[in-house]
Assembly symmetry: C2
Homo-oligomer: 624 residues x 2
């Protein structure tokens, strides 16, 4: 992987930063955030502006370009990747390390007095704008909105914004109709005394209307906004996809409906003017509810006194707690996904060991092939991380021809992959060795496994926030002076984004909401040695009520049930490092894999994979 | 303990809330925070305004009085105590429970439209003012400063503000001279480009000048402020204590000094006008550094553009990391404290078991008597919690004649106590049974002990914040559906406040600073059953570097070393519930108690207590 040469692009950008055609006054710095106008994590090609200007295409990162410097902030998952993809024009700012300055502090240290810092107001979330604007102002600089995106002005071959057909989801998948979801939302609005709610996140629009799309790769969403009033529903969406009879019937666009459920369809681009009109028509005490992560542009459309901002919207919170239709769908999706992975690992063993012809890309493609054979498969849920040896240490690695390594019996292989099925979203990581792992590799794997089990088997009171569980995942690694530089878990959508809020398990104490029965998160501790190998063990787990001996203050307790049912390679485990309880956990887990996935492999007539599963789920035994 | 009858007082307060003599316009609500003008946790009698108006005298709580209501917010430590001490005029707001409204939300729900909410601007911290003012304003109300404290206007027999003599601490105690501390502070100021630093917290003034006082019970501090410029030092302090020759010499008030170390002594009451003068004389870009918890009144003295506010001051952070003189002093103090407690527990066993004449108050007094026999004893570090049976469940209980129970062989006894010695501050909790504990009591005690050990023996990377360790303390309790409603640990001062920032171990993710070698915190998980018993096991522990097998990213690891060396009652331990590692921890700890405290008991000729210590530190043995 050679870095993108950005000298010419940066020169062009620095020109438009001073051009009266685009900016009222020259800007001395320009910020290029990661997201799109919906603050999506995964974005369409037309929104990959930060990757265009820098070459770094990881899922998280912010670029800032000044007249003299170009700097990129990203987190531990991407330190190696960013260093590989960017040329010498760029300085990598490693977030989470002690000496790395914040963007604001860095700007203050490099800017000449009284500078202007530009940013696209549709791309920057309002909360970030506020924090950054305040910090810059207190140092004598100004954050200014630049209406035309300056990257777009120099991006001559920028792809078009996608506008793909929609998928309608009936009650058997969603459990709740869109009308009932809107009625529930309105009752939350009434509780908080707000009259309007603005839906800005793409997965929230999709969830609310029980629709899915494919405008963004891996995330089954479509470009749209909505404004929900107490008696009106406005959906902002482009293209002829609203002409699809199935969509029209699903949304009852042609039916005689109670007026409060009549959907008014408007062009995607008219959201700002419509919202400004809503803002202009408000009486005192009338409020408009927005996420505090909505774009600065949309937030500014509502006069400050009328805004009601929260870190998580009621849709985000309702969406996180899966109902029984969704949970059952997720279970089905995970069973199919496990079948595909048993096929894959069985195939890999047959190919890698004797032939040595399987590359990371071939393995990733094979995984997709097996998944695509399963019912209701739609697409992958993220770019497959298929990595062997030193590539495994690049936490969010994606194999490309330049980096593509061949799997061998001498190196650890890490596969982090998942799919979108119409009934659910999967995300699973397994770390395998096709030869004989070293004692050190087994030791590290076992610490990671102990951390995985510590979270998965944890019992904790109702109302506990996920970040309080993060250290459980690290404790065994910490004891030996080891650690990993990423969070332990993220929320997972139901045939929606593989990363979703408002809950998660991380040492970063973001304002996560308490875990509740029905929420679904990942449990994925790891350990990485730069230049050598990567280890990660990831299951998707469902929050369920726990039976406990006592019940303090009648609060009730919670624990996790693994939805992912794929064997954890016992060859990699140093059994002597496990407690009896941990050993039992592994054996119980493998027993369940055998029963549930075994039955499905049998049903699908996949006998060879079944034999692989049986072999891989032999119970561990521990000598006291 | 009968509640304070507050009907008449509330009537008087509601009158002055409308009186033009004190308020420009009537206020519909009046907030009475817990603290004093320095945001102290422990306060002088003249500052106990919230206790005066409500009867509730716990260390944390905020009262709000409206025309119709009187409500008290406090946390889990004080639910029972507050309920006992307040009459029916008051509503208890249990903070931390799901359905308890915040003060702002409650005010919005009860106030008539367009209300004014009054508060003393010297008592409310600026960050609280900001949050509350914003919330009230967005609901159409106003937070207004009421210059004269309205409680003081009705408190006819309010005690005088204390003004006791000062103690000077030489280098053998402090390790660093006040001049070097000021020089270090100025270099931090230069780093942040601020010209002035305002010292508002009493323990920060005391630490900076290597002085101690006794204006506030339990906290060796004195009423003072300071303003440190790059070339000036202003100390605001009242009384003739500056006439004391020892103090004059310590501060070199009569010496010919470099001008930048010359201390200008000013009256305590002149801080506001002096600070306003500083604020008025600032040129653009000149900044004044204040804690964001400084009072609203002082913060407002500096125009907004010139303020540099941080949650923790550089003094707070420097003070938390103890140097070797302070650490050695803390060790000595804890050895003396352990001697006193061995004497006490030996005495209790002799008195309680056969005679049954020892009450909670007698036991607390006896503990103080034994402590006062130790060298350099100054006073207690907080009101002794001496509680037996159901009183143990009142987390911050203090025995008074009305509640005073007699210790018996049938109930658990919990003693949480500590002292100020000139070389250090102690804080230790032991839970004892003088008869035969039930299996259930032992079970609960053992879970608490497992939590205590999990924190004390934890190994974690440099840079870890204390709140990431909190769940370790709860895990064993959580497994059985149990928990406790308070944090796990707090910073401890060195012959200073027993509670200090900026670090701690709590599920509440306050903005704690990372733990560093040299910091000192408490480790005190517990379990409480209302109406039955309380269990808590508390050691003060020092953060030290840990030796680990590996060293990820060369970050280095930390762990804790117990400074408290008092036996943990083995009779209360269900050994079968301990792992071998936990069992070894207890035996190693007891071995160290024997060696270190045994030698000191021997040296002091306290042979009976020594025999008690030897007996109580017999190794546990665990049958596999």
């Amino acid at each position: 992987m050679s870095p993108k040469i950005t000298t010419e692009l940066l020169k062009q950008l620095r020109q438009v930063m001073k051009s009266p055609k685009y900016v009222q006054e020259p800007v001395q710095a320009y910020i290029v955030p990661s997201g799109d106008a919906h603050q999506s994590e995964y974005i369409a090609p037309c929104d990959c502006r930060r990757a265009f200007i820098s070459g770094f295409d990881g899922s998280a990162g912010t670029a800032i370009i000044t007249e003299q410097h170009a700097a990129m902030w990203t987190d531990g998952r991407y330190f190696l990747q960013a260093a590989h993809q960017m040329d010498n024009n760029w300085t990598l700012m490693k977030m989470g390390l002690k000496d790395t300055p914040t963007q604001e502090d860095w700007l203050v240290s490099v800017l000449p007095e009284g500078s202007k810092v530009g940013v696209d107001p549709f791309i920057i979330p309002a909360d970030q704008w506020k924090r950054m604007s305040k910090a810059l102002r207190s140092a004598g600089h100004d954050l200014v909105p630049v209406q035309e995106n300056l990257i777009d002005t120099i991006w001559t071959d920028c792809p078009q914004r996608p506008c793909k057909p929609l998928i309608t989801l009936d009650l058997s998948y969603t459990g709740v109709s869109w009308r009932d979801k809107i009625a529930a939302l309105r009752s939350k609005m009434a509780e908080r005394k707000v009259l309007w709610f603005v839906v800005t996140a793409l997965d929230e629009v999709a969830w609310l209307f029980n629709l899915r799309g494919s405008d963004v790769e891996y995330n089954p969403v479509f470009f749209a906004y909505a404004i929900i009033g107490m008696n009106t529903i406005r959906l902002f969406i482009d293209g002829d996809r609203m002409m699809d009879p199935a969509v029209r019937e699903h949304l009852q666009l042609d039916s005689t409906l109670e007026p409060e459920f009549k959907i008014q369809v408007l062009p995607y681009g008219s959201i700002l003017s419509e919202l400004q009109a809503v803002g202009a028509g408000l009486s005192p005490k009338e409020k408009v509810w927005l996420s505090d992560k909505a774009s600065y542009a949309l937030t500014e459309a509502i006069p400050k006194a009328f805004r009601y901002l929260t870190p998580y919207t009621p849709i985000c919170i309702a969406k996180a707690v899966k109902n029984s239709s969704e949970t059952e769908g997720m279970r089905r999706a995970h069973i199919k996904d496990a079948v595909a992975l048993c096929e894959l690992f069985n195939w890999l063993e047959k190919e890698v060991v004797p032939k040595g012809t399987v590359t990371e890309i071939i393995a990733a493609d094979k995984a997709e092939e097996f998944r695509s054979q399963q019912k209701d498969f739609v697409e992958l849920s993220f770019a497959t991380i298929s990595s062997t040896g030193p590539n495994g240490a690049i936490i969010h690695y994606k194999p490309v021809p330049e980096t593509n390594r061949t799997l061998s019996v001498n190196e650890i292989y890490l596969l982090d992959s998942g799919a979108q099925y119409k009934d659910g979203t999967t995300d699973v990581t397994r770390t395998m060795h096709f030869g004989t792992p070293s004692a050190y590799e087994k030791e590290c794997f076992t610490y990671v496994l102990k951390g995985h089990i510590a979270v998965s088997a944890a019992i904790f009171p109702n109302g506990t926030k996920g970040h309080l569980l993060d250290s459980f995942a690290r404790s065994a690694l910490w004891d030996c002076g080891l650690d990993y530089l990423h969070g332990t878990g993220h929320g997972v959508g139901s045939f929606l984004n593989v990363h979703e809020g408002p809950c998660g398990i991380s040492y970063k104490t973001f304002a996560d909401e308490p875990l509740e029965a029905g929420m679904i998160v990942s449990d994925e501790p790891g350990y990485y040695e730069d230049g050598s190998f990567g280890i990660r063990i990831e299951n998707v787990v469902l929050v369920i009520p726990a039976e406990t001996k006592y019940n303090f203050k009648n609060r009730g307790s919670l624990t996790f049930e693994p939805l992912t049912l794929v064997p954890i390679q016992t060859k990699m485990i140093d059994v002597d490092l496990l407690t009896q309880k941990e050993c039992n956990w592994v054996n119980d887990y493998h027993q369940k894999c055998r029963e549930v996935i075994g039955a499905e492999l049998e049903r699908q007539g996949r006998h060879e994979a079944l034999r692989w599963l049986i072999r891989e789920t032999e119970p561990l035994s521990r000598v006291e």
